[in-house]
């Protein structure tokens, strides 16, 4: 169990995938999610860590936060 200040309803594991994989994984999951759902996207791709929040902003969802783990990042997105 990882210590985190965010609680996710759904976890999308995109570790080891590179751009555009993590964002495509997230978008695919966002399509199925109800408003209020919090998705944790796990990515080891540094560029996705910065680019995914840009997409979240453009798509009108809410970025709850980005947490750095030992060898990946967790991006928390709340669906609006």
């Amino acid at each position: 169990m990882t210590d985190t200040e965010y609680e996710a309803d759904v976890t999308v594991d995109s570790r080891d995938a590179t751009c555009p994989g993590p964002l495509m994984d997230l978008i695919g999951r966002v399509r199925q999610a109800d408003p209020g759902t919090v998705i944790e996207l796990q990515t080891s791709d540094s560029s996705s860590k910065t680019d995914v929040p840009e997409w979240v902003d453009e798509a009108g969802h809410e970025l709850r936060g980005v947490e750095e783990r030992d060898d990946y990042w967790s991006v928390f997105v709340e669906i609006t």
């Binding site: 995938a17 590179t18 751009c19 555009p20 994989g21 080891s44 997409w55 798509a59």
Partner: protein, 132 residues
């Protein structure tokens, strides 16, 4: 303008990868995309070429192909996934096919139609054209 129309005329892998990434993210974000593969850009979709990764490429694309650490999706994989997620259409250039006496089934199974220039321009008239 609603979306992007990529004219993909290059067979170099770094350019194919860039188009694959940008077009895929756009389509998955519900931004309409059309891709017109022409000249060497169409030849890059030849199934044998895709299978053997037989592309001209610069250092960045070479690093992507040879990396042991990460899994980099090929442009064909990104585009296939984009077709599942959003509004993207791919068109093969008839002139380029005729020049090599090829049929559409010799290319990756991604194309929606075979078109000439006029046919593509008609489908691109409401989009921003990006030439690669």
């Amino acid at each position: 303008m609603t979306g992007y129309a990529f004219v993909l005329a290059s067979g170099r892998l770094e350019r194919l990868q860039a188009v694959g990434n940008i077009a895929s993210i756009a389509a998955a974000s519900e931004i309409p995309v059309a891709v017109f593969a022409t000249m060497d850009g169409l030849e890059a979709f030849d199934t044998d070429r895709v299978e053997s990764l037989n592309f001209e490429m610069g250092p960045v694309a070479e690093a992507m192909v040879t990396s042991d650490d990460v899994e980099v999706p090929l442009f064909t994989e990104s585009l296939a996934r984009a077709k599942e997620l959003g509004p993207i259409s791919l068109y093969a250039c008839e002139l380029s096919m005729d020049a090599l006496d090829k049929e559409i089934d010799e290319y990756a199974d991604l194309f929606d139609d075979v078109l000439g220039v006029s046919g593509f321009l008609k489908r691109a008239d409401d989009k921003q054209v990006v030439f690669v």
